[in-house]
Amino acid sequence: MTIGDTTAPILAGEPRATGRGVAWRARLRHLQPGLVMAWLVVAIILAWAAVPGLFTGYSPIDGVAGQQLRPPSAEHWLGTDGLGRDLYARIVHGARHSLTGAVVAVTVGLLLGTLLGLIAGARGGWPDAVIMRLVDTLLAIPSLLLSLSIIVLLGFGTINVAIAVGVVSVARFARLARSEVVRVRRSEYVEAAFGSGGSFLAVLRRHILPNSLTSVIALAALQFGSAILALSTLGFLGYGAPPPTPEWGLLIAEGRNYLSRAWWLTAAPGVVVVVAVLAADRISTAIGRTEP
């Protein structure tokens, strides 16, 4: 009901136009406006990242001499920064950096965490004990300090920071995956699958993985928002991409120097981050709710 309209293409192919219209209206009435807006925000940011040239004609790197610190106007929607660069253009082009970072971070957390959780939940015994103590340790270190330690190890840069953010979420994915596997494993149909001669890997692939997927995806959506937040924090502190790069956290850091004269330079990128995180949050809640 809530995630996307996956049945729309099938319905569109149906010959009975009247029945389709009714189904559509019923579906429309069930849509929550907040969720629709959340998907819209995600779609816009994805489009920014994919084809930034479509949204702005200005360069995010080269400023125009003599046009520094212009307030928002019809020409420059969000004004210009201290080097005469269009802020809106920098935010649009920055979407690519922030999204890439968030995707890398969530992928690291999802793959590593789910793998650890699957092994722990499915094997039990000493692998379970060892993995869960490691997970406890990861949770014991405050996330910012853990990220900073990994940055010290790997060095600065967009991808390194993204990995550092991803490692923080490994523990959460591992815990969730483990509890899901344990829950599904105890159910009767899985026992039946084992009883009727299914091998461990086959049962894992056919029954346990698909049944634990929904909550893992909900967590991934949530972590996507947290990753954008964490990446902007580390970018603000100067550990991410180097200065000319239009990364959202870095935009806020640069805007701060002109706070008294041009507050919109700081406000606008921050609002974009907040809206993106809120959208990810809302979508995550919706996915979590579709669970039976």
Binding site: L134, A140, I141, P142, L145, L148, L153, T266, D281
Partner: protein
């Protein structure tokens, strides 16, 4: 009960041992070039032999296992090694930098608790349902705010626009108002969320209906029955809150240019001063583990319903 206690204590010590080992392996054993970063600088004009001597004086030329045992022994006796960048013991730097951070985090926590209780109470007592759902949406907005951006925006609004808080020469209290607020707003969100969920859960209990049926007013039930039962479960997120507070304080210090753990951490990251970072990581993990241990052991005492079945708290 004794078995449970010993088991829980053993688990806590195990996590600490793993944290220490991981921090040692990642920060001390792997890079090991904090000394090189400082002394390889050509302007210092040191020869390779002199650098080797310096490395030996820090113990960096010893075999790994010897360094490990040496560092472990030092940590257990409260000696956290030398800050290579500053050339002073890490402990001296912590003694100077911890109190301001504790002050900020403590005040931030108090403000967050007040804010969270206000949100939770408002979300229950407000008459209009749309107003209630508006208040209930506040925590999800608060968790989505980047701490550093929030701080800058507060400076912009309260100092530059409204001229309420001076930025040039603030008094001792004035100086702390905005940082504490910056820290408190995001921290209040998880607190408010758990409070609201608990209040709803308690309100649905049969004994509330009984109290109401006997003629107790809604307010009386709320303060007398709901409040106590709703506050207790917030203890379970005490450890997580500590981590958030610490991280929030570190970022807040960076925004407001305050001295404390934050500044120390950034300088350590920039200079690859791993000894400092190692100490901060191990100490904060130890605090987290200690808080969780205390909460686990205290919970059955505070909630007699759990006391009957020791072990049910984990």
């Amino acid at each position: 009960m004794l078995n449970y206690l010993m088991g829980r204590l053993g688990q806590a010590l195990l996590i600490l041992a793993i944290t220490f080992t991981a921090a040692f392996l990642l920060l001390q054993a792997l890079p090991g070039d904090a000394i090189l970063i400082k002394f390889m600088n050509p302007e210092l004009g040191l020869t390779a032999d002199q650098i080797a001597d310096i490395r030996a004086s820090y113990g960096a030329d010893r075999p790994i296992w010897e360094q490990y045992l040496h560092t472990l022994g030092n940590f257990l006796t409260g000696n956290f090694g030398y800050s290579i960048q500053a050339g002073v013991p890490v402990r001296d730097r912590l003694v100077v930098n911890l109190p301001p951070t504790f002050q900020l985090a403590g005040l931030g926590f108090l403000a967050a608790a007040v804010l969270a209780i206000a949100i939770a109470v408002l979300s229950t007592v407000l008459g209009l349902s749309w107003l209630r759902s508006l208040v209930q949406a506040i925590p999800s907005l608060f968790v989505s705010l980047p701490v550093f951006w929030l701080g800058i925006m507060l400076i912009q609004v309260f100092s530059f626009q409204l001229n309420l808080v001076s930025v040039i020469s603030p008094g001792p209290v004035e100086r702390l108002v905005l940082p504490v607020l910056t820290l408190a707003i995001p921290i209040s969100a998880p607190l408010a969320q758990i409070l609201m969920r608990n209040i709803d859960a308690v309100l649905a209990q049969p004994f509330i209906a009984v109290a109401r049926a006997k003629g107790a007013s809604r307010q009386w039930v709320l303060w007398r029955h709901v409040a106590r039962n709703a506050v207790l479960p917030t203890l379970t997120i005490a450890g997580v809150l500590f981590g958030e507070l610490l991280a929030g304080a570190v970022v807040t210090e960076a925004v407001f240019g305050l001295n404390g753990l934050g500044g120390l951490t950034y300088k350590a990251v920039d200079a690859h001063d791993t000894a400092v970072l190692q100490a901060i990581v191990v100490i904060s993990a130890a605090t987290f583990v200690a808080i969780n241990l205390v909460v686990d052991l205290l919970y059955p005492v505070l909630d007699p319903r759990l006391g009957a079945r020791p072990g049910a708290t984990t």
